[in-house]
């Protein structure tokens, strides 16, 4: 996918996803962050419109301020730059379960129309075709944070009519940012509310394993600004150092 002609810089669909997710974070939000796209999005938000966004990693680092993208949720820099480092049992009991986290990012192998997620197995549990890593923090993140943001590339294999395993609940999923657009729950069902620049609604339908609900007023995501894109690229190049 390429940018529209108004944009001086072209961008990838992963970049669009990170930028769109970052924009959803409000300044001061306390975010529970994993590695990969969520970490990119949260760190981008901190460098653009939300400098007071508080990053909490499940490894126990509260208020981490990494200068480059962490490669693991346990990177030493997270501990060094954190306001506080707590034990893992304390993190899950006193901080996550107690409802102190505003936003939790989740990914998954499968999502259904209600935002329920599967990160456990593909196929039958006892003889799976693919054994996935498992739930990790997801089951309780999904029910303990105020707002769940899902980031997931959109394909019919990932956006399924029925999950092979329900690892976490969709009740608090407020937005699903994909490489094609943005879905939000409306009347209890994930509904396409925006497509990314250059993407057609039918592209999104084709990438969804159920009959996708589409909002009447589907908009087009504002493409990344130069500032967003430059900040993101600076961040990612540091991460690769």
């Amino acid at each position: 996918m390429t940018a529209t002609s108004e944009q001086p810089l072209t961008f990838t669909s992963d970049e669009m996803m990170a930028v769109e997710a970052a924009r959803r974070l409000a300044n001061g939000d306390v975010c529970f962050v994993g590695i990969g796209l969520p970490s990119v999005a949260a760190n981008l938000a901190r460098r653009t419109h939300a400098p007071n966004c508080v990053l909490v990693y499940e490894s126990g680092t509260i208020g981490a301020k990494p200068t480059k993208l962490p490669l693991s949720i346990g990177d030493g820099e997270l501990a060094e730059t954190a306001d506080a480092v707590v034990s893992v049992p304390e993190m899950f009991a006193y901080w996550l379960q107690a409802g102190r986290i505003d936003v939790g990012f989740l990914g998954a192998a499968q999502i259904d129309r209600h935002g329920n997620l599967n990160s456990t197995v593909i196929g039958d549990y006892d003889s799976p075709s693919v054994r996935l890593p498992g739930g990790g923090g997801a089951p309780e993140i999904a029910t303990s944070v105020a707002d769940v943001f899902v980031m997931l590339r959109q394909t019919p294999r990932a956006f399924v009519e029925e999950l092979d395993f329900k690892t976490s609940l969709g009740d608090r999923v407020r937005v699903v940012v994909t490489d094609l657009g943005t879905l939000e729950p409306r009347d209890g069902e994930l509904t396409l509310v925006r497509v990314h620049p250059g993407v057609e609604i039918d592209d999104v339908r084709a990438a969804t394993g159920w009959e996708l609900a589409v909002a009447d007023d589907v908009g087009v995501t504002a493409p990344p600004t130069d500032f967003e894109l430059e900040t993101l690229r600076a961040l990612e190049s540091k991460g690769r150092e």
Partner: protein, 270 residues
Amino acid sequence: MAEIVTLSEAVRELVHDGDTVALEGFTHLIPNAAGHELIRQRLRELTLVRMTPDLVYDQMIGMGVARKLVFSWGGNPGVGSLHRLRDAVEHGWPAPLELEEHSHAGMAAAYAAGAAALPFGVLRGYAGTDLVARTRVATVTCPFTGEELSAVPALRPDVGIIHAQQADRRGNVQLWGITGVQKETVLASARSIVTVEEVVDELEPRPGAVVLPTWVIDVVAEAPGGARPSYAHGYYDRDNEFYAAWDGISRDRATFTAWMQEHVLGAVAA
């Protein structure tokens, strides 16, 4: 009082076939050297416990050490799957692997309950997920509010193994940086082994450190670099390239076996 011994003595004295063994270190101070020693001493039928099994668990599983895995997230962080874990679960190679899987929150509560010698931990979790039918979790009712919560059985491993930066000569241990669930692992386990980067004359108090007194530890073994390819805060960094390389090494049974032969079985214990 912890005895200071070699790693091979530590494993020989404290770990037996069929034991439940937890090697912890959440994203940091992962006791890789101790895991390799379990492989070298050809321990069998272990129930291996770990919140985040990664490379060293993939290696132990692939080498046939484990009968069962108790875990909450098993992957190569930032890279992908653990191919030996998958091969064991999906194809029973080298042996079938029984799984007991939890959420992180559930396992953390289970370790904390074990450390406190309570039979169960309580959390608001699991509810509504398919995990409930696949793991050991039950319901408890609050006697004051009537709210239903989840209970997980306490983790009480036979042996808890962690890696720390330092011990003093009496066997007091200090670790710092991300300290994870290591205190609970030692306190919840019937026996414990701590490998350390170095034994020092005096432990200098450090911000954010966890100190475990010698009298709650069975043995301490010096194992410099014992967390590699994980890292030891203040000693060395994570070997990110090896985590990426492991994906290729572990994909194929023969490549894996050859690598283990050369790098683990062929190596001498610390």
